[in-house]
Amino acid sequence: MSGANGTALLEVENLEVRYPVPRGLSGAVLRQPHSFVHAVSGVSFTVRRGEMVALVGESGCGKTTTAHAILRLVEPDAGAVLFDGIDVTTLPHRELRRLRRRMQIIYQDPYESLDPRFRVEATVAEPLTVHRIGTRHERHNAVERALEQVGLSPPGLFSERFPHELSGGQRQRVAIAASLVLEPDLLVADEPVSMLDVSVRAGILAILDELRDRGLAVLMITHDLSTAARFADRICVMYLGRIVEEGPALEVIGNPQHPYTKALLSVVPRRDPRQRVTAQILRGETPNPIVIPSGCRFHPRCPIAIDECLISDPDLRGPAGASSAPHRAACLLAGR
């Protein structure tokens, strides 16, 4: 775990993203007010060089939108994304394009994310072509290096193949290789193993682990707490567009402070049949992000909510109220 000593590469501050909800014809005629899906509402965190941060939460909690806003694949509505000190959110497109070389993303589904008509060599070389980097010979060498890095060796055996000639795990390796040719500083991995067989997942995660050890900053988006617990240095738990708890992975897993984190951890099935945990099953579903509950957004499902929770919206804070503590939770009752 080299995380804690690295310098901050990515600083996300109070990020907000909302999507307009179509009003429909009658809504437009009646001039109903516009409503919004509040996908991300005030998210702040940092990722250091040589650190893997996992953003965990259920579907619809805003994890992927956060990742897309960081790369400016969606436009944030408020807040800042500082990449190596440069605010990505206000950068003109020409400069953004240059910066994007240093931040890459890999997607969940390697069956969808690779162009079926491109051979492996062309897929991995494409980012270089797009950014007009190197001569043909240099690109070829870069592709071979990237393929070696993701364990597709000897590269010659794979570079002429088409995606349909590869297994799922190999495809994801190709996708990672394509993100590595530009030698990025930040890699965003959006559910990198959820479509893959259990038997090959560990291999893909080991690649990310090794890249982290070599100084890359990795932001992993996942709904799988076991994976986050095993591979990430720090974990941020998201609920309804907010980070409700963040801290060192072992701390968050071993000593959760927020009732939502506690409930989530209690329902993660353990490998060992003898290890039974009393599941604390939250009823209902995550409320819809168009109408965010008042006060603490978790209060309607919270097993320990008190009257104050209906009114006051808690900030992330340390167990003793110290906001700089590495382990923080957004709960009025945390540490009380």
Binding site: R201, R270, R274
Partner: protein, 327 residues
């Protein structure tokens, strides 16, 4: 000899491929499922899990040939193909398909769709069926008034519950569930697993879970069968499989699965499963096995009992049990 509720004996499935080739998808699977049992069928994609349970329902496409016997309460339901299996399908043995929550007809109300198996088998119709639908929705934790909803008005978790309600419509004795929680969030998964476990405990429903998620099986099932290349390579109580696996594949699968509280290294299994369109000599797992030795290359191991309801097909197991068993 008294038989279990569902007994599968030496089930084989072949699929026709172009150029007169065949894919031997299921290669002699035997299983026995008692009332109230929860059995997990686990393994990598393509190992024959889904094909096995589709065969039990007689739902394989015409390109498939099936042989073997499937006894449901002593009656061989595969004896005369469709003629013997059709009366039991949905009525005694029902299934929740993979992605069932996305398979509802979008323009028909949920309640009407849940009533369909009842009308088909004549167990209820009209007002009776409506009443039964409301009862079923209540059992699976959906407000009965939701019978009037269209599928798009329900969340993913609720649609999955509705799919379970539909499978329960004619009070089957055996429920086959193909990856019932795979696309769901962990909290919704917990709700669905709690529901299925409750059904098996309270109604004595026998459950067969097909999944690649070992922790789900570990926490939900009483027994598990690990499949590899169309065969069951190890089966037994879940506790024994985790704490005393006898097949290297079982051990490696658990080792490839991260656990919330374990800092053990998670290691992937090298290589890929063998192709099933050509005969395999020796042990099918040999190329990926970390313990393979001389006989594995030429001799296919048999599934042998290694103790209390625990069986494994590995030459090492045979060697070990012989040594122990020798007088």
């Amino acid at each position: 000899m008294s038989r279990a509720l569902l007994e599968v004996e030496d089930l084989h499935v072949w699929f026709d491929l172009p150029n007169r080739r065949e894919l031997h998808a299921v290669q002699g699977v035997s299983l026995s499922v008692d009332a109230g049992a929860r059995i997990g069928l686990v393994g990598e994609s393509g190992c024959g899990k889904t094909t096995t349970i589709l065969a039990l329902m007689g739902l394989l496409p015409p390109t498939a040939s099936v042989c073997g016997r499937v006894f449901l309460e002593g009656e061989d339901i595969l004896a005369s193909g469709e003629r013997t299996v059709a009366p039991h399908r949905w009525k005694d043995i029902a299934m929740v398909f993979q992605g069932a929550m996305n398979a509802f007809n979008p323009v028909r109300r949920i309640g009407d769709q849940i009533a369909e198996p009842m009308e088909l088998h004549g167990t209820a119709d009209g007002a009776d069926a409506t009443a039964r639908v409301r009862e079923l929705l209540d059992v699976v934790g959906i407000a009965p008034a939701r019978a009037k909803s269209f599928p798009h008005e329900l969340s993913g978790g609720m649609r999955q519950r509705a799919a379970i309600a539909m499978a329960l419509a004619t009070s089957p004795k055996v429920l086959l569930a193909d990856e019932p929680t795979t696309a769901l969030d962990v909290m919704v998964q917990a709700q669905i697993l709690e529901l299925l476990t409750g059904l098996s405990r309270e109604l004595g429903l026998a459950l067969v879970f097909v999944t690649h998620d070992l922790p789900v099986v570990a926490q939900t099932c009483t027994e598990a069968a690990v499949m590899y290349a169309g065969k069951i390579v190890e089966k037994g109580p879940t506790d024994t499989l985790y704490h005393a696996p006898r097949h290297p594949y079982t051990r490696l699968l658990f080792g490839a699965t991260p656990d919330l509280e374990s800092r053990d290294e998670v290691v992937s299994i090298p290589g890929v499963p063998p192709r099933l369109d050509a005969p395999i000599t020796g042990c099918p797992f040999r190329p990926r096995c970390d313990s393979a030795f001389a006989p594995c290359e030429s001799l296919a191991p048999e599934l042998v009992s290694v103790g209390d309801g625990h069986a494994a097909s590995c030459h090492l197991t045979a060697v070990v049990s012989q040594t122990i068993g020798a007088p």
